[in-house]
Amino acid sequence: MTDDDAPPKMRRVDAQTRDFRDGLIAEMPSLRAFAISLSGRLESADDLVQETLLKAWANAHSYQPGTNMRAWLFTILRNTFFSLRRQHGREVQDTDGIYSQRLATPAAQEGALDLADFRVALAKLPVEQREVLIMVGASGLSYEEAATVCNIAVGTVKSRISRARAALADLLGISGPEDLGAGSATDAIVKRSTVGEAG
């Protein structure tokens, strides 16, 4: 029986399954980037993504088509991460950013230097700050979506992001525009790295 011959209900289910599968595939890079940013350890991150995909597939009926699948998946992954963390402690979390450095695709030459320092600083943030910073500042979720994912108030998301940025600036030694060189932290860090290598 071809798809066109199938009863309407079966065709609809197949189309929904296909759309859901395609949605998962499209979100996997982002999901994995979030997992690595949370746990740091590559194996742990891939285990987290795998567990998230299994749970998402098993609970596909609870996903509302048209809503933000990324936020839905982040919620599952985050809950899985903290559940494992409660069971195994900090062994599921990288604290120096080394693993994310090894995994990441090569960036532009000047970017590779600054990203190494930035990742080390990012990994030192409390995970509660790091997760909302990643969600809102990089993955494209809104404050409201991040608040829903973390089951906290929007104001708490904002204050955690504010503290995270202040902590990063402190860790990177950026106290003001004068530390930003030509106008970016990237330039400042590249400059510091270059000076360090020369000395």
Partner: protein
């Protein structure tokens, strides 16, 4: 290609709601949480720099090739569902 389409999608989201590649999402939403977005404002410049580094970090991770085991897992789940339907 699965990995490339996903990567592009991740990039789209990271450009922010207004298409700004430089941490626009964070800044655009932070109007009531941080000082006004004055380009000469000290905090604005620092936050802008951190936003760009954050997005570069995330983008490089999202661009990394997906491990086969995750793609195989999805294929297996889909095949299992197809078998169950029969």
């Amino acid at each position: 290609m699965i990995s490339s389409s996903g990567g592009e999608d991740a990039h789209d989201s990271m450009r922010g709601r207004d298409g700004d590649p430089g941490g626009g999402n964070l800044r655009a939403q932070a109007k009531d949480a941080t000082p006004p977005a004055d380009p000469s404002n000290k905090d604005y410049l620092v936050n802008d720099a951190i936003g760009k580094a954050l997005q570069a970090h995330y983008r490089s991770l999202a661009d990394a090739p997906l491990p086969d085991r995750l793609l195989i897992l999805l294929a297996e789940l889909e095949a299992k569902d197809s078998d169950d339907d029969r």
